[in-house]
Subunit: 257 residues, 2 copies
């Protein structure tokens, strides 16, 4: 039997405010068993870029990463945010290790090809080196992953944290019984977009098809759920979409095949 | 017989200019056997702090690290400089892993007590966790250490890169036959401060005493050599003080007991 591992993705907002970061670190430290944390940091990056006089360009909610912006996200995600989390977890008895994809070559990516939009130094994940990660995790080291990867040719690439969490969970499913938890601004997948408490507790593939057909689930939630089912197909045991204050995934929407 | 390990400290300047960084990465990648790189980054930190409107306060050549400055050095040393080196080495086939002292608790420090000067968030090294580092190194992972440590209570502390290199070399001498290489702006310890080529090729403890007595070695070079002899006393096999372009330590001043 494989041992349990939880891969948790938290967005930028929760790690960027002192009080919510403290709560996150307490909650994350309390989670039993093997675990991995993937974090964002976009708000801090935008703020520091603006202080440095670099304008953050967004297209469809995604950042355009030019050369100067890449330096900022490397500093903010790989340095400020990642190391604050690592130091905070060490103080809570968690043997955290901050990683970008370049460290030990854990995540190799390719620069996104230019189609209608040139996203700049943005990476699409190609390969997660799960053997090395698995060895660290088995040694009770807790990887804290910044949303940065590398191309193997010396370039850091800005990479979506949801994607990193999903690809890492899939790769680690070879070694562990993996639960993937996406923490975000809502309490879960909602039955009624206007009612924050209308969380759908459980969804399987058949439910999902039905919910899309009848219009219950729509917009940005569709790709999020498609990615979740893709992770399940790749061997992840369960995906949970829940609120940013529920890293232990006791509530939210639980997705299984 | 212990296996050979080289711990190399390079200053900020060489890692902050594209051309010299490339040369450093080529040279470092070419070094045979186990190795560790410790880097600075002060010039970039000063530049980015100034762009962010934070004035860098220096006392006796040392940075005063207030709360805002700590954020900048965490970003610059732990993020920008460290990850550029890691990605660059990966491209050269070196399985680099960027570390601060907080990562895996490798270097614990205490905030420097306030005497005449309050240096702020500056750490004096208390303990290097050499077992963990040694395991990584034996697995052919190459630690790239940023000049940042932590206090175990959640705080990152700005820490002198020379000290990190020295303490890491001493701690690793338990596991390896360690050569410690300090790269700096001169070609080595000079017999004549005005003649850049007057490098003293070899110094032992007796030579050192004599050179201090007759005034050949003076000023800031005295503590540098005292630290070198302290490292030798603690089990390091050899210390080399050489130029920033000589990471393979073929020239410079070679110091042995």
């Amino acid at each position: 039997m494989k041992e349990k591992l939880t891969v948790i993705k938290v967005g930028g907002k929760i790690v960027e405010e002192e009080q919510s970061l403290k709560q996150l670190l307490d909650d994350f430290a309390a989670i039993e068993g093997f675990k991995v944390l993937v974090h964002g940091g976009g708000r801090s990056a935008t703020k520091i870029a603006s202080q440095l006089g670099i304008e953050s360009q967004m297209v469809n909610g995604r950042r355009i990463t030019d050369g100067e912006t890449l330096k900022v996200v490397t500093m903010v995600y790989g340095g400020l945010v990642n190391k604050s989390i690592v130091a905070g977890l060490q103080a809570r008895g968690v043997n955290a290790l901050g990683l970008t994809g370049a460290d030990m070559d854990v995540i190799r990516s390719v620069k996104r090809p230019v189609k209608e939009v040139d996203y700049g130094y943005v990476g699409d994940v190609k390969k997660v080196e799960s053997d090395c990660l698995s060895t660290l995790i088995q040694a009770n080291i807790v990887p804290i992953m910044a949303p940065l990867t590398h191309d193997g040719a010396g370039n850091i690439l800005n990479t979506n944290a949801d994607t990193i969490a999903g690809e890492t969970a899939k790769a680690l499913a070879k070694h562990f019984d993996v639960t993937l938890v996406y923490c975000f601004e809502k309490k879960g997948v909602l039955r009624d977009a206007d009612d924050d408490d209308s969380v759908i507790a459980h969804i399987n593939a058949e439910d999902f098809k039905q919910y899309v057909a009848d219009g219950t689930i729509q917009g940005g939630m569709i790709p999020k759920l498609e990615n979740s089912f893709e992770a399940l197909s790749a061997g992840v045991s369960e995906v949970v979409i829940t609120s940013s204050t529920d890293v232990s995934a006791t509530a939210g929407t639980h997705i299984r095949k």
